[in-house]
Amino acid sequence: MDGSFVALGDGLHRRVIAILAAQALREPSGLTREMSLESLGIDSLGMAEILFAIEEAFEVQVPFNANEPGATMDLSTVGAICDAVEALVAADRA
């Protein structure tokens, strides 16, 4: 799979990637920013578990309604989720 590999030096992104990788039953090193959750085999229940894990880990609330995915934040790819969590954490600290 093509695409830029996520910079592992970035702590927040690395933790998000670890959550996604655990859900996808893959090694974190195999995930790229461009990968879609669908391509990782993550379904709606998998998404619910990911959001639960992210909210627990970062003490944020991720706005997401399964009936209108993407309506509030783009959470469709690995990179989009990393950016979204970063924005939520930043907003929380502001």
Binding site: S44, L45, N65, N67, E68
Partner: protein, 401 residues
């Protein structure tokens, strides 16, 4: 020859009204009873709307000893049962009572009792809960209390298949009378899960709407929960006619299927087989059906799957509506309260609307969802759908009496 099954009584309490005439009026008016929820810790929820029953004065309805035993869901069931039995004019001899029973559906059982009890021992640090907590919270409590209240000594049990519970329950009651296993059955469902724990658990699935239930509308964004109960008197047709009872409708067919697929994602195939099975069981041609009460949760996946299924069963689909848009999704009591919309169509010639509808959705495949305004129509036969988590489907077919 198989026996026929009449409905001779109906009772309900739900967010629209505390009786059947009031519910009929609200369904006819397209009135929405969904609003802000009121209970302890509601401010800690992200979704704070529901079809909650207001002004339920439990203390005025029940004495202290009864209240110690009756969860909110049981209170709803007993009032609905009282209304149904009163309407049917049912009176049982000691021998007849042995062939009379009750089947109720519930998803959560005594959910508020569980919530309150956990709060007491975990949050408030108490070391004991009320000694009747178990008989109060058990799923079978409503069926047991209805049997006790009305002296029903035959088959009595509860069915729990999540959001299809009461359709499965009514189907069991129907089959039992038709096969000769009983002559009279109370059947329906009761649910009271509008409490902090009940909704907190649902939040995680991210399928609930923060602002309203708009089934089959392109701007839908999820389900909204409700509470309440509906109970019906199912009766052997010949017995009902012999005693001169008013027959509200005939339960003509029933089918249940399983998707055997996914724990939350519906498969249209299971819904297709349930509707076809109910039609075959009733000896009913698709063209006879003048109304379908949809499961119609207002989630993207249900709407899409149910529309596909209806299109596969019906070459020319009849009007379809979801009254969850008005009273909310009563989970294990959904099919029971929604059977009122079927009785309204068959008995009064009024098709209840799908409220909250704003925008055509291509995924609804052009179905006539009776948007927002009730419609007069002569309906001779109708289906009522319930498609639960777990892929457990139950469909009832009814005829005008």
């Amino acid at each position: 020859m198989a026996r026929r099954v009449a409905i001779t009584g109906a009772g309900s309490v739900n967010a629209l009204a505390l009786d059947v005439p009031g519910t009929f009026a609200a369904l006819t008016a397209g009135r929405v009873a969904i609003g802000p929820l009121e209970f302890e810790d509601v401010e800690r929820l992200t979704v704070r709307i529901g079809g909650q029953i207001r002004d339920w004065d439990a203390e005025a309805r029940h004495g202290r000893q009864e209240l110690a035993l009756y969860d909110r869901a049981v209170q709803f069931a007993l009032e609905a049962g009282r209304q149904a039995v009163a309407q049917s004019g049912l009176s049982l001899t000691p021998d007849e009572a042995l062939r009379a029973g009750v089947v109720m559906g519930t998803g959560g059982g005594g959910y508020t009792t569980i919530d309150d009890s956990y709060r007491a021992v975990l949050s408030q640090g108490k070391n004991r809960v009320h000694p009747f907590t178990i008989p109060r919270l058990m799923h079978a409590a409503a069926a047991a209390h209805l049997a006790m209240r009305h002296g029903l000594k035959g088959p009595a049990f509860t069915v729990s298949t999540a959001c299809a519970s009461s359709n499965h329950a009514m189907g069991q009651a129907f089959q039992m009378i038709r096969s000769g296993g009983a002559d009279v059955m109370l059947a329906g469902g009761a649910e009271a899960t509008l409490c902090f724990g009940g909704l907190k658990a649902w939040e995680g699935l991210r399928v609930m709407s923060p602002d309203g239930c708009r089934p089959f509308s392109a701007d839908r964004n999820g389900m909204v929960q409700g509470e309440g109960a509906a109970v019906f008197v199912f009766e052997d047709w010949d017995r009902a006619t012999a005693r001169g009872a008013r027959i509200l409708a005939e339960v003509a067919g029933f089918a249940m299927t399983s998707d055997a697929g996914d724990i939350v994602m519906p498969d249209p195939d299971g819904a297709v087989r349930a509707m076809q099975g109910a039609l075959e069981d009733a000896g009913m041609a698709p063209a006879e059906v003048g109304y379908i009460n949809a499961h119609g949760t207002g989630t993207a996946v249900n709407d899409r799957s149910e529309a596909q299924a209806i299109r596969r069963v019906f070459a020319a689909p009849p009007p379809v509506s979801s009254t969850k848009s008005m009273h909310g999704h009563l989970l294990g009591a959904a099919g029971a309260v929604e059977l009122l919309a079927v009785l309204l169509a068959l008995g009064e010639g009024v098709i209840a609307p799908t409220a909250g509808w704003t925008t055509e959705d291509p995924e609804v495949l052009g179905l006539d969802v009776v948007p927002n305004v009730a419609r007069r129509a002569r309906v001779d036969a109708a289906l009522s759908n319930a498609f639960a988590f777990g892929g457990l489907n139950a469909c009832l077919a009814l005829r005008r009496a």
